[in-house]
Amino acid sequence: MTPFSYVRAIDAADALRLAAGSAAAYLGGGTNLVDLMRETVARPDTLVDVSGLSDTIEETDGGGMLIGAAVRNTALAEHRAVRTRYPMLARAILAGASAQIRNMATVGGNLLQRTRCSYFYDTDGSRCNKRAPGAGCDAIEGFNRNHAILGASAMCVATHPSDMCVALVALDATVHLQGGRGARTLPFTALHRLPVDHPEIDTVLEPGELITAVELPPLPFAKTSTYRKVRDRASYAFALVSVAAALQLDGDRIEDVRIALGGVAHKPWRAFKAEAALRNGPATEEAFRAAAIAELADATPLRDNRFKVELSTRTLIAVLGDLAGAAA
């Protein structure tokens, strides 16, 4: 690990000040960053510990919820209102990592965790445009079973590893930020980037900008929502594919729907095409299949991950089928 100095922020303004003008990084639970530093993939000169900042979960006036960035993953998943009003979010968090890691990891850190592409981690032997811009990508022609089928570029085929973010992007959450030029909010769908020509940049955050909170909108039909994760073993593994979905029926007609996919792209993938195909249509397996096919029409699978197209389709159909049964 490269030497660094460690400082603890007392509030957001203090954090911004401490992180200014250096190769600083904000430290939450450290479950990803400490590992990246040990592998020398990340080499910050200063760690600004923000894990002691806002860890409250509040109901908002508008009927949503405001979640402090330092809330631990476990605390969010066990919150009574999250479990009953946004079950897809609780379930997505509980699908991620292990209980020990969920006890450490913060909400803000979860949003900013980096891909687990093994070429990204392999500092000794692999080329990676995300780790060393311009170096090349050994995943494209390499072992790419876990890699992206949607939105990838010739520079990078990595996937975003988070489960929680898949639910947050489906729920139309908002990210609260504090930066040198003040506070701003960002739709969750706009937070993460596709790789295009700059895979080294994961999000649209400006240098030094701090995530202070995540806000959930009131979305009453999210009470009929879930998250399903498909992986190589039953627990404690990253997703091959995952689906977060919420469904609102009016009789047999789909009044509203939210869908996002995980494990398939460089960012948590909101399935807008599938949603558009389903809205105001029948809640039938045929319609679910057509929606999945519409969403995956642009998929560009690699040598080893062609199975993800069919797996995403089947998982989406199964999840929507379950929700239709529960909503009816």
């Binding site: 450290g30 476990t74 379930r91 292990s98 020990q100 006890n103 039953a234 404690y236």
Partner: protein
């Protein structure tokens, strides 16, 4: 800059790079917590911080200033083993023993979570009271690997002790 480990106060390391695991093992000579993968994949380094289970390999010691750490060395009362330690022996919940300290600390933290009502990914009803079935225990303990394959004995030991207390 101090930390409490198994009831004793200790001085934290000056070098911020030192993980909580290395601090426990190298500075305090508490060799129970193991360095299996050192990247958060195996659970052998699991310790309790203020009663919550965490991975000490992914924790920087300096981040835990003022907190109370319990390692496997802090569980027995004198010569009397913690009931879960005895149950691991009774149910052959180990072979080589390398993962055992992490398994035991993890199970104690797991039981606290269950008592608090924390659901798991396999809980069919997220709002319901937690019932620690075998499926639930397997899911909740999935962060601790045992390469000898003693998982069945481990689950039996947990069911008989800390999980049974949860149900009571």
């Amino acid at each position: 800059m101090s930390i409490n480990v198994n009831g004793s106060t200790a001085k934290l390391p000056i070098d911020a790079r030192v993980s909580l695991l290395d601090f426990l093992r190298d500075d305090l000579h508490l060799y129970g917590s193991k360095k299996g993968c050192n990247q958060g994949a195996c659970g052998a380094c699991t310790v309790l911080v203020d009663g919550e289970r965490i991975l000490s390999c992914l924790a920087l010691a300096v981040q835990y200033q003022g907190r109370k750490i319990i390692t496997v060395e802090g569980l027995a009362e004198g010569n009397a083993l913690h009931p879960l330690q005895q149950a691991f022996i009774d149910h052959d919940g180990l072979q080589c023993g390398y993962c055992t300290p992490g398994q035991i600390c993890s199970a104690i933290g797991m039981a606290t979570e269950a008592k608090r009502g924390v659901p798991s990914y396999v809980s069919s009803d997220l709002g319901a009271e937690v019932i620690l079935t075998r499926d639930e225990l397997q899911e909740r303990m999935s962060g601790n690997l045992c390469r000898c394959g003693a998982h069945n004995g481990i689950i039996d030991a947990i069911r008989e002790t800390v999980a049974a207390e949860t149900a009571a």
